[in-house]
Symmetry: C2
Subunit: 438 residues, 2 copies
């Protein structure tokens, strides 16, 4: 279950295997998550980076898709419980399984401040990205009408300087300084402040130090204020409080827009599986699985992706793999191959091994950093690599062409075609009756 990078690869590996495969996901689409931040800043449309799951597996006649939320797993009875969305009524579906692959992913963690979750925004799902887009655009609208408080409206705080945080901060800065030029009469969008708040002592901590420095310099150049060794003390609806690590003084910064991109907390499915197997959970709620991704004591249940740590075959220690698409995809493919072998009574491949293919992060127009197994790139070349890789892995011919076109257009004009404030972002959403028919 789970139609993300890992789950979908597992399903593809099991297509034409003779097995009856059921794919369960909350959404009706696969989301190319690494580009969600571009939807949040108006560069791409939602449909450019999402494909209906049914469409992806339409030719695999042995694969069935169910749109619903997994609310229970019973490893003893080998059964999961799926709740439908509002359209399907509230009947829960009980699905029996012989083999189960759990790829539930992870969410951001608020480090024990759950109350911040409702005050900060995220760019994890498509819906949350559309909300961010609406909120950023509305902040500019509000500043234009409410010039007395323009500084608060036009201060954007991004928390966490991993790839998503860096990319978001860079995109907001470009949106304000390049795209919106000439569009306002009472405010100057280029006055917008983008603060990138990071507890550690460098941005992109997963990259070599030299690239972190280059990325920080690029960010400053396009107008992002990088605040290293800064910690959030409070996130209010209208301001944040910051402290410099090791310093007692708090600083209060009025802002209407806080984008959260820090911390990891595994899907609640990890906890469900831990309860039933006694498997270890770490502080981020990640499940420790065997070197073959199986749940301890349950070889018929595999778990993978951001919700697990995989035990090293030699030391037995659980390892955290990078929370990136290639890691999840490799695990998904591995799970598929393992199950195909086991179903035929064969032992299957040896323990799972992650092959690091390198890391990429964009900062802005023609600016990026790339660490390709020791080969370090930055600037235009890294950006071109980034473009190529992302176009290549996008699913769907139409999406590839449209995204290329939008990026070309936006590269030459600095425009962004998808700056719409739609209802997902508004406070007064539409509520309608929707009972089952007949």
């Amino acid at each position: 279950m789970g139609g993300g990078f890992g789950g979908l690869e597992a399903v593809k590996a099991l297509a034409r295997s003779g097995a009856e495969v059921t794919l369960v996901d909350r959404h009706n689409y696969f989301l190319f998550q690494p580009l969600t931040y571009q939807v949040a800043t108006g560069g791409l449309a939602p449909g450019d980076i999402a494909v209906p799951l049914r469409h992806v597996v339409r030719r695999h006649r042995n694969v069935r898709v169910i749109m619903g939320q997994v609310t229970g797993i019973d490893c003893a009875r080998r059964e999961i419980v799926v709740e439908h969305g509002p359209a399907g009524g509230s009947d829960a579906l009980h699905l029996a399984y012989d083999w189960l692959v759990v790829a539930g992913g992870a969410d951001y963690s608020y480090f024990g401040h759950e109350e911040w979750r409702s005050r900060a925004l995220e760019v994890k799902s498509l819906d949350s990205a559309l909300e961010v887009r609406g909120r950023i655009l509305r902040a500019f609208e509000a500043a234009e009408q409410d010039p007395a408080r323009w500084e608060g409206w036009l201060t954007f705080v991004v928390v966490g300087a991993g790839p998503t945080g860096v990319e978001m901060a860079g995109q907001i800065a470009e949106l304000a300084r390049q795209t919106m030029v000439n569009e306002f009469r009472r405010i100057d969008p280029a006055q917008a402040r983008v603060l990138l708040v990071e507890m550690g002592d460098r941005v992109l901590a997963g990259f070599p130090e030299k690239l972190s420095q280059r990325a920080a310099r690029s960010l400053e150049r396009i107008g992002v204020t990088v605040l290293l060794r800064h910690r959030l003390v409070d996130v209010r609806g209208d301001a944040v409080e910051l402290e410099v690590l090791g310093d007692e003084d708090h600083q209060t910064i009025p802002t209407a827009t806080v984008v959260w991109a820090a911390g990891v907390t595994a899907s609640p499915l990890a906890g469900m599986l831990a309860l039933q197997s006694g498997a270890e959970l770490d502080r981020s709620g990640r499940l420790a699985v065997e070197p073959d991704l199986s749940l301890p004591g349950h070889p018929e249940v595999l778990a993978l992706g951001d919700m697990v740590r995989v035990r090293d075959p030699e030391t037995g220690e659980p390892q955290v793999l990078p929370g990136v698409a290639p890691a999840a995809m490799q695990q998904g493919r591995y799970a598929g191959r393992l199950l195909r072998a086991r179903m035929r009574g064969r032992p299957g491949p040896g323990p799972f091994r992650y092959r690091d293919k390198g890391s990429l992060a964009t900062i802005g127009r023609a600016r990026a950093v790339a660490d390709l197994r020791g080969l370090m790139l930055s600037g235009f070349l890294a950006w071109a690599t980034w473009l190529g890789v992302h176009i290549f892995y996008l699913i769907g011919f139409e999406n590839r062409v449209v995204v290329m076109l939008r990026w070309a257009y936006s590269y030459f004009t600095r425009g962004r075609g998808n700056r719409l404030i739609t209802a997902a972002a508004s406070a007064g959403p539409i509520q309608r009756e929707f009972p089952p028919p007949g």
Copy 2:
């Protein structure tokens, strides 16, 4: 005020006029409304047919844009009241004017059954189109999980056989029979029933009778059931009740999805203006304006578009113009020219005259009808004309290229790239605190 076809043309005509122009609209974007139904059926993305208003007028330094809802007009004090959205707090803005152009448009009318409004769906705004898209796709998901009631889930009722109703019915039929093929395992999407309910005795009543007949035949051929001389007696959340005109018997049809595209009720702004001027309102709430579009007794206030009837300069009788984009655009341009002249103390152009350039409606892939001032086309040629006209009038180079590409893709593959169920369509929308900062 009003950033639709009429309002925007008026603003463009007043750009570089030396006047200070303020454009007020509820949304931050101009919507190319004739293609909204394609968003509702997954063929186009919202951003393909909408452009930020600020972007459209960015080069007109004398034009200011305010995103907000007009809640009051005071013709005596020459002032309007604008409420901001949630982002701007609840402060109402009072704007003084010397000249006022009101282009508020119209909504569908439920013929006195206001309770049906919350049970039926519309494809008027972008938000409502996204809701329709989600509801149609969810109905297929629900049918797959709830096969006992598949007939209700897969019955789609479209009310009103004007261009929008015809286009929606055709698109739903193609979505079910062509796009979704192979994507389901327990239901056959091609079994979906699309009912087009019309009180009159032909579809597309605004077209010559011959074209109406051809359109009806085309609709039947792609799988739409055309129910002429049928009237809705009740719209429940889970079914509709129909009667044949002149017949006592009611027929109950289980359905989860009713799309409303019938009747006209003018924007409430028409009523506000009528109250202050004593101008006549017709049954649809349309304001009767003078031959120069001005409010009786208030030459400084012009009203135009779907919310008005224009008095004939000879007979003095108010005339209803077709509710199509060219009519609104012509009135907007006229209003702009008139005001430019009046500001300079000149009398300006004579009374407004509508030039009918013909009518177009698509039915489906390579099927359309066109009435070009007597030249009647149907089939591929009409469809090609329709394509050309719509691409030509789309705003924005990027949008034109993307839309052409999507249509080409969809023509050859029958695919639709934007079949996403996003939060705007779900019953549990995100609610967040959003106070002003600082």
